[in-house]
Symmetry: C2
Subunit: 411 residues, 2 copies
Amino acid sequence: MSRKQLNIGLFGFGCVGLGLYEVLQKSPALRANIRNICVRDKDKPRTIGAENFTFDKNDILNDESINVVVELIDDADAAFEIVSAALRKGKAVVSANKKMVAEHFTELLELQREYNVPLLYEAAACASMPIIRNLEEYYDNDLLESIEGIVNGSTNYILTKTFSENLSYADALKQAQDLGFAESNPILDTGGFDAKYKLLILLAHAFGYIATPADLFNIGIDNIGELELKYAKEKGFKIKLVAQAYKAADGSLSAFVIPKFVTPDDRLYNVDDVFNGVITKTSFADTHFFVGRGAGAYPTASAVLSDISALSYEYKYEYKKIYREEDVRLTNEAELKVLLRHRREDAELFKLHFSTVEEAYTNHDSGYITGNITLQSLKALQEKHSGEISFILINVVTETEKAAAAQVVSA
Amino acid sequence: MSRKQLNIGLFGFGCVGLGLYEVLQKSPALRANIRNICVRDKDKPRTIGAENFTFDKNDILNDESINVVVELIDDADAAFEIVSAALRKGKAVVSANKKMVAEHFTELLELQREYNVPLLYEAAACASMPIIRNLEEYYDNDLLESIEGIVNGSTNYILTKTFSENLSYADALKQAQDLGFAESNPILDTGGFDAKYKLLILLAHAFGYIATPADLFNIGIDNIGELELKYAKEKGFKIKLVAQAYKAADGSLSAFVIPKFVTPDDRLYNVDDVFNGVITKTSFADTHFFVGRGAGAYPTASAVLSDISALSYEYKYEYKKIYREEDVRLTNEAELKVLLRHRREDAELFKLHFSTVEEAYTNHDSGYITGNITLQSLKALQEKHSGEISFILINVVTETEKAAAAQVVSA
C-alpha cells in the first residue's frame, strides 16, 4: 500500500503546532510537509523563519496543492469556520479542538459525507491515547457496555497535587497553568466542560449516540471543599474527575462528568498528574484499560501525527455505530451513590432528595450526606444550589443493587 | 459502509471455540454465522447438537459458501496445515494460535500476498487486548522506541499467587491449570516460549522485523528460586515475566523474554493475575499503557470476534513497516542489569562474565550477583548452566549509563 503525499496547511503555531513541526522533522517515512502556516498575531516572535507564515486563511484554503488542513487553534468558533471551509474545498482535516468537534458534531458529520473527505480528531479526546481509533475499529460490536475515564489532564494534575503535596486548589491550578497544562481560562477544564466535550466525542464513537453539550451533565472540581478532601484522605481514597457513559439492560445510555472517590483497587487510582486513563468494559472481554499523557504539546502533536499518518493511507472514521441507526436514548434515571456536602442548616432539606440515605454528618458549619440519588435529582439540586454544595460520586448503583434496595423499602 | 455477510467454518470447539459460539449469539449486528464446526474427537460430549459438527476438514475447506475460517485448535502444526489450505482456497482466516503464527510468519505473509486474502490474529498476542491493531494502525511511524509487557496470563497468575498468597510454584501452577489458564503442557508458558511467540508477532507489527523463534532469547519462570523471591519481597518488588523489544539509537533492535523485578512505580506492578499489560514508548508521546485479560475463553473469543467483525469491513493487516524494507537488525549487544542466582561455589566464575558487579552475596549453599552483563554473555551462561542458575532482570542499561560506566572503568 503506497502512501499518499501530504501537503499540509497548518492553522495555529502555539505549543502543539510547534510540537507538530518538530515531530514531523523526525518522521521522514511519512511523506508529509508543511506548506504554509496561518497565524493570527503578526508581531509574535517565532522560532522559525517568517517565510513559513501567512496571516490570511485563504492562502491555505485556496491553495489547491494543499490537501490536508491541520487545525490547532484555541478559538472553537474560528476553528469551525476554518474546518468547515476546508472540508468544503475537499481538503482532509485533522483537528485537536474538542470544543469545536463537540459543538458541531452533526454538521461535521454531514460535511464529511457531503464532500466525501475525512476529518480526524484523535488528539481531541485524550491527547496522545488512541481511544477514538479503538472505539471506532476494535469495539465495533454490540458488546461494549461502558466507558469510564480520566480524560482531562489539567484537572487530574491539580487533584494529584492537592492529594500528594497538600497544595491548595488555587496553588495547584496556578502550577498547572505555569506548566502549560491548563488553559488561560481554566473554567473549561475545572468546570468539567472540556471533559464533557470529550465524553460527547467518545459517546458518538462508543455507542453511536450524538449528544449536544447541553444534553450531558457535568460537575467540575472547582467546588470541592475541605470536608470531601478530608473524607477521601481518611479512607485512603483519591478524588478524580471522571467522565463515564454506560448502557443499561434496556439499551438506554447514561453519560456524565463528575468528581469521584477512587479506591486503591480501581485502575484509575494510579492515573496521576497529567495522565489520562480510560476503562472500557465489554460483555465478554471484561475490562480494558488505556493510559497515556492527557496534556502537553508533544503528546498532543503525536496524536495529530498519527492522524496525519492515517490520512496518508486514506483512513477515515466510518461512524459505523451512528449509521447503524439503532434507537439509542439518553436517560437521567440512573441512580448514583454519592456524597453531598452542604451547609449545616440544609441537611434535612437535602435528605429528602435522596432515595436512600446511608450516612449523615454535620459539624459547626457544614455537613455531608451519603446515599443514593437519581441523576435527575442530582442535576436539579446542582442547578439550584450551585456554589453551596458539592457532589462526589461513590459509585453507580447497579440494577441489581437498585432492585435489592427497592425490595428493602417495600418490605 | 455495508457489512459483508460472513459464513464461518470453525476449527476446534474447546473453551475458546465454545466462547466464540456464545459471543456470536449476542452479536446480531455482526452478520456472521457459523456454518460448520470441525472437531477431532468423535466421542466427546458437546453442549450443542451433533448436526453442527464434522470430523473432516475438507467439509469446510471445500465448501465454497464458507468465506471465513476461524482456527482455534491447540496443535500448531495441524493449525498451519488448515490455515494455509484455507488461504490457498481464498478464504479469510482468523487464528488465535501464536505458536503457529510465530513459527510460520514469513510463509503466512507470502500466502496472504499471493492469494490476496487476509489473516488476522489479534487473539494470538494478548488475548482480548487490541495490541496488534494499535501497533499496525496507530504507531505507524518512525517514533516507536520500545514495547514492553506482561504478555502471558498463566505465568502472571502463577507469579501473582506466589507473591500475594505465598503459594509454592507447584501449587500456583496447579491452580492455574485447574482454572484453565495454563496449558496441559505448561512448559510453553512457564518456559517463556508462549511469551516469545507473542514477542515475535509484536516485533513484526511494531518494528517491521520478522524473527524466527530461534532468534529470540527467552528465560521462563520455572527456575526462579527462594533467594530471588526473598530478594524481591524484602525490597518491595514483584517478579513479572516481561517480554520486551527496543530500538537503539543506531536503529538496531534488542528483543527478549526474561523475569524482571518490577518496582511499585512501574505501571506493570499492578498488572496481576491473568491480566496482561503492555507499555509502548514513542519519542514524543512518552508512554502508553494497555491492560486487559490475557487468558480465558471469553476474552480470547472476544478478540476473535473483533477480528471477524473487522473482516466484515474487509480489514486486513497492511504490514506497512515490513514492506518499508528498512534495514533492521537484531543485536545481542544490549547491556542488562540483572541478578544472577548461583550455587555458592560458582560465585567467582560467574563474576568474570559481568562487565560491572554491584552486589555479591552468598549463604551456606547459594548466592547472587547483581551487575551489568551483555545479552550475549547472559545467553551463553544460560545455555551452559541452565537449571543451576537463574537470571532476573533489574533494568536495561541505557546508552547514557553504559557510556558513564565505561568512563569510570577507563579513568
